[in-house]
């Protein structure tokens, strides 16, 4: 075991982590711990754009962007945070441009902008061109540009270091962060990183679904590490299903395809979104479009022999436009489906895409231990966090924005905190939990297999807590997850070695997914209303009287060691916008 000491430790090297690292490295001695090499993060899979009211191509302003974000989130958004997001978006884009990001350009040489779902002119009048982009690989360019600037700033990376535990120590009655415990994949060695400030930027949890746009590695590791130490998780029932995943595979096809003029069609060739969203049509918010697609499928208007998908039609767009603006996604269709998008429509279905919920933070990125108490020295940003700027449904292009705005804020705040504060003494046997977890799995001889349990988890999540939910389906999921958690105790792995033991890693990741799936299902069961990405067929309306509030889920351990989830609630911050019925 090794002990390292850094002022600031950042967990994760995707967009939020590297944006934070650029700031933190300038101000403090910083280490980035990442389970993947930095440019492998799923930020790179983001395609369509990053929203900012630059008004380069038409009239726009940040107040409209704020409104769209709040409306898009079905009024569960904390409005003070949304205002910061929209205001600081402009500098966030300009910062990236100055760092070298090759944005698409207008004929005048300014940053070009395109339309995207839910982004509108003057509070919903018509779609507005707000998304700054780089072809259909905006996330890739953001990730590369941030990594390049990390090199420029001399950021110190620990690659393939997997953070498994968050160290919290009570000092004078206040729970403070003392550092993290990490597992080095190459050697199997355990490392303790003592740090004055820790920033989680470790991404989402999408891998508990089967059909998902998420990478294999998105297993909620940061959320699970904090949750197990008694910190709450906020709004975990809200998960976004992106309307256009490649049929059966879930690979993302950007909303930018519809921003460029692509149309969703059912088996009769009908542009069905006209029925559900007369103004925004195919560019309504993602929850609305995903539900519309499944409504078409359920009512027998789905495509294909099993009627289980619809089409994304790009055939009316000029091939030159597809080549220039959507080269990657058209290639995906060719590679994985053998389809030529110039001439044939692409079969799509909604795909599990983004966790709106996560580790609760305030607008400085400080993690909350309850509705109001900050955990000194602990920060989170990006998909792992819940600020909440996305509320019940995130708008497209607002996540690339979120990682830049709140990644920067968390990086600055963490480094300023480490400049002013001392190290918290490490707890005795700080590595204990991780050592026992790793040794238990390595020595286990049970008869359950990781892959089988994961498959059953993903199947029950897809079947029961996806786009449409009812009390009955959620309860089915809750029971199944409880069974899987029980069986997980009997899981064993085949690779008993220390070197690059990805078998062990997958077992740990499955444990994280099971914990978080349980939180999600329980939070969803308790929310007896429909809002944004959480749609209850037994409670189809939004209920502002009873549920205009964030869910806060805590892990409780009884005296006899039994675990349970306690749900509490937190008020939504409302500043200038009164909740209205959401129409697109």
């Amino acid at each position: 075991m090794k002990i390292h000491k850094y002022d600031t430790v950042i967990v994760g090297a995707g967009g939020a982590g590297m944006r934070a690292a650029i700031e933190a490295t300038k101000r403090s001695r910083t280490a980035v711990l990442t389970k993947l090499y930095p440019t492998r993060s799923h930020t790179g899979a983001a395609q369509g754009g990053m929203a900012a009211a630059l008004a380069n191509v038409e009239e726009d302003n940040w107040e409209w962007h704020t409104f769209d974000t709040i409306k898009g989130g079905d009024y569960l958004v904390d409005q003070d945070a949304a205002e910061i997001l929209a205001k600081e978006a402009i500098d966030a884009v300009l910062d990236l441009e100055k760092m070298g990001l090759p944005f698409g350009r207008t004929p005048k040489g300014e940053i070009d902008q395109r339309r995207f779902g839910g982004h509108s002119r003057n509070h919903g009048e018509a779609p507005v061109r707000r998304a700054c982009y780089s072809g259909d690989r905006t996330g890739h360019m953001i990730l590369q540009t941030l990594y390049q600037n990390c090199i420029k700033e001399g950021v110190e990376f620990f690659n393939e270091f997997y953070v498994l535990d968050q160290l919290l120590v009570e000092v004078d009655g206040v729970k403070k962060s003392a550092g993290v415990v990490a597992y080095e994949l190459a050697t199997g060695e355990i490392h303790i990183f003592q740090a004055k400030a820790v920033v989680y930027a470790s991404g989402g949890t999408g891998k508990f679904f089967k059909v998902t746009s998420n990478a294999h590695t998105l297993t909620g590791d940061g959320q699970a590490a904090c949750y197990r130490r008694g910190l709450p998780l906020e709004d975990m029932e809200f998960f976004q299903f992106h309307p256009t995943g490649i049929w059966r595979m879930g690979i993302l096809l950007t909303e930018g395809a519809r921003g460029e003029g692509g149309i969703l069609r059912n088996k009769d060739g009908e542009r069905f979104m006209e029925k559900y969203a007369p103004v925004m049509k195919d560019l309504a918010s993602r929850d609305v479009v995903s539900r519309s697609i499944y409504t078409e499928i359920r009512e027998g208007r789905g495509c294909g022999p099993e009627g289980d998908h619809v089409y994304l039609d790009l055939t009316h767009l000029p091939p030159e436009q597809l080549d220039a603006k959507l080269p990657d996604i058209t290639e995906f269709a060719r590679t994985y489906l053998g389809i030529e998008p110039y001439t044939d429509p692409i079969p799509i279905q909604p795909t599990a895409h983004y966790a709106m919920g996560g580790i609760p933070t305030n607008v400085e990125g400080e993690v909350l231990a309850d509705n109001t108490t900050v955990v000194p020295g602990l920060y989170a940003a990006g998909e792992v966090a819940c600020v909440s700027v996305h509320g019940a449904n995130r708008l497209g292009t607002n996540s690339l924005l979120d990682i830049n705005v709140f990644g920067k804020r968390a990086g600055v705040a963490a480094a300023e905190y480490s400049a002013k504060n001392d190290f918290v003494e490490l707890p005795e046997n700080a590595e204990e939990l991780v050592v026992s977890q790793v040794e238990r799995l390595r020595d286990a001889s049970g008869n359950e297999r990781v892959a089988e349990l994961r498959k059953e988890l993903q199947e029950t999540m897809d079947a029961n807590v996806m786009v449409f939910r009812t009390e009955q389906t959620i309860k089915t999921a809750v029971e199944k997850i409880a069974e899987l958690r029980e069986r997980y105790l009997n899981v064993s792995i085949q690779d008993k070695g220390r070197r690059f033991n990805t078998d062990l890693l997958e077992a740990i990741e499955l444990g994280n997914l099971l914990d978080l799936a349980e939180v999600m299902a329980q939070s969803a069961l308790a929310r007896k209303e429909s809002r944004g990405g959480h749609y209850r067929e037994d409670f189809p309306n939004r209920d502002d009287v009873n549920f205009m509030r964030h869910t806060m889920a805590y892990r409780e351990v009884g005296d006899d060691g039994t675990e349970s989830i306690r749900l509490d609630y937190k008020p939504v911050v409302q500043t200038r916008y009164q909740p209205m019925e959401r129409k697109y």
Binding site: R40, E97, A215, D495
Partner: protein, 256 residues
């Protein structure tokens, strides 16, 4: 991830998903685990799989159902993250972008780690020298003078000039397909040069001369023998050899 479902027998197959029963494919995988043995060996696995699936899906089937110790890197599974470059049937490819049906599954399919980098375990290689070469070419925008308040302007034509080389995902398929790199690990390799190109030809950048001098080194661009292996290997379709030629030309003419 792709979980194959067979079309119903009487169903009309759709474009891209023609009827195709599972077939048995032999995967011949290069195994190496220094904890067990100092020698690398070949091991065969028989996998029942839909040939429209990816090589990565087959590797997962092996790892998840047959031998959990099989070790490889992967993340996004659709050709964006650059984790799973490997040598498949003797050619560098991404396992997640290679469909089994496209590489003649009637014969055994060989899978080995990429060449020229130290193998650590099975298909996992030490990527540090690769990233070091990347860092050495100053892969970041360098400018002087006052920053503008708003964005720097760049015409669509100037932006287009380096578009191809911005696609790089640092998977190392090109560099580890280069015979010069195999023989001499000191050579920067195609990926580093591609990323130098991305900045040299960016109208906003002011360090082109410095990067050219770095690449004028004895281990720089002049080592390239124009074999086009790199261009063939690139999973992003970057014209790698052309980019290297453009850097060579810029070194001679000092115009870029």
């Amino acid at each position: 991830m792709a979980t194959p479902t067979l079309d119903k027998e009487d169903a009309k197959p759709e474009a891209g998903f023609a009827d195709s029963p599972y077939i048995t494919v032999t995967f011949r995988i290069r195994r190496f685990n220094p904890e067990v043995s100092a020698d690398a060996t070949w091991e065969d696995f028989q996998v029942e799989i839909d040939p429209k699936e990816r090589v990565l899906d087959a590797l997962h089937k092996i790892k998840w159902d047959m031998d959990g110790s099989l070790t490889f890197r992967r993340s996004c599974a659709h050709g964006i993250c650059g984790s799973d470059a490997m040598r498949i049937n003797g050619r560098n490819r991404l396992a997640c972008k290679t469909l089994i049906k496209d590489i003649n599954p009637s014969k055994p399919i060989s899978v080995e780690p990429i060449k020229g980098l130290t193998v650590l375990k099975d298909l996992v290689v030490d990527m540090d020298p690769f990233f070091q070469a990347y860092r050495d070419v100053m892969p970041f925008l360098v400018t002087t003078g006052n920053e503008p308040t708003r964005e720097r302007l760049q015409s669509p034509e100037d932006r287009e000039r380096f578009d191809d080389t911005t696609k790089c995902i640092l998977c190392a398929a090109c560099t580890s397909s280069c015979p010069v790199f195999w023989n001499d690990g000191q050579y920067f390799g195609p990926a580093a040069i591609v990323n130098a190109h991305r900045f040299i030809f960016d109208s906003r950048d002011e360090a082109g001369e410095q990067r050219l001098e770095i690449l004028n080194d004895k281990d720089g661009v002049w080592r390239c023998r124009t074999t086009f292996n790199c261009t063939d290997a690139c999973p992003r379709g970057i014209e790698v050899t052309k980019a290297i030629q453009e850097v060579k030309r810029a070194l001679i003419t000092r115009r870029f």
